[in-house]
Assembly symmetry: C2
Homo-oligomer: 270 residues x 2
Amino acid sequence: MIDCGEGTQVQLRKFKISFSKIKHIFISHLHGDHVFGLIGLISTFRLLGRTSDLHVHGPKGIKELIEVQLKLSQSRIDYQLIFNELTGDKTQVVFEDNNVIVSSIPLNHRIYTNGFLFSEKPSERRLNAPAARDAQIDKAYFSKLKQGFDVMNETGQLIKNEEVTFDAPKTKSYAYCSDTAFSPAIVPLIQGVDCLYHESTFLNVDEGLAIKTLHSTARQAAEIAKLANVSQLILGHFSSRYEVEDHFLLEANEVFEKTFLAENGKEFVW
Amino acid sequence: MIDCGEGTQVQLRKFKISFSKIKHIFISHLHGDHVFGLIGLISTFRLLGRTSDLHVHGPKGIKELIEVQLKLSQSRIDYQLIFNELTGDKTQVVFEDNNVIVSSIPLNHRIYTNGFLFSEKPSERRLNAPAARDAQIDKAYFSKLKQGFDVMNETGQLIKNEEVTFDAPKTKSYAYCSDTAFSPAIVPLIQGVDCLYHESTFLNVDEGLAIKTLHSTARQAAEIAKLANVSQLILGHFSSRYEVEDHFLLEANEVFEKTFLAENGKEFVW
């Protein structure tokens, strides 16, 4: 889960997202609309009898924020709550397992803020089982094949890997950038990602407000998407001053075509 | 406002309650379902440009709870935020102005908890203007009449107050008692109130759970209402383990007839 504003639990229930699937929470910054729902979610996990670890990655201070509230509400958490506090102003690996690597994207906002880049790791090649059988390859070599090696078959003949395997599924990448002023410095970090979420609080007509509050306009978000040559752009974090969100899409489209607007409960698959 | 769980702002908007009318917030205890929405509401007041003071009355610790969150989110509040931290285990006056007096009701829960008794102060008698004119009373005496005095008229005759005034409107009182185990000790404090809200987390069949968690059953809440001879009882804080809330009403009615169930957005007028 990325960020956790007040009422996140209600939205999770509304869109039937399993609470128990949440193992890592990445908090971009400590403004209320990104973090005020975290203490409630942590408390609810306790009420639901959670036993598995919960990892919270976020700016330095997040541990104090949660622990003070737990202390004052005299709440004992029965599962492990593990904080990973970020302080650096350069990109760093925030989390890594066998499938994914998550790194920080330093952003430019009124308070210390990081976006997050989620990059799938390449998985193994897929075995073409009938072809491998036909090529008389012993099963003992299958894991070597999945790793990309050529192998000897039972008659001592060298079999080319690509004759008996398929390419691994394409890895996917997702960059989340909110909240931030227009920051071309992030472009090298998100170059070519499959999907970029970029905040777009204002329209170009209010660029002055965006500069003042260290937010972005739809046009600026689209410029970042174009500079980074991403495959698609999702805009969100729209100021409530605008009644019609379509204008964000129109404005971004002038710079970057494959743009979509975030909305509650909407799923993006790519 | 009494208590402020997560999502209170959404409910205020849903039921069209003006944010700016909220000047005092009374927090019974620091469990999340009673306080986790407070920081968000305080932040929203700032965004809405609030300038008038906000008073927060609640258990010792409430100031730290809010101030840590304001500090970590680097939020500056432009209006006065005034905390009134309660520590006593006896009833005390929490707030008083010309119209109302609010006193604490020490409750018995797992954490330091107070209910609140809201008592309207008697207002002045209402002038029967035509009768006062007929009795030839000079206007200069009208304020004396409202205070209940007999006065001389222009011909030197003593006019009985009740002949030219009506009774003051009846004062109203409301007691809020949540969360608490069955506590007959509170009965003297809430004797004869017009309306008692009393928590009723469990049904009698789960009295063991109520005792263990320091909550009340519907029957226990009704017993308090009966002992205190209140005019009406509102039950709330139902455990989500029960699918049908009507059972709370049936159970309470066996002990105390004039019982109602709280529900979102419901108004009680008396």
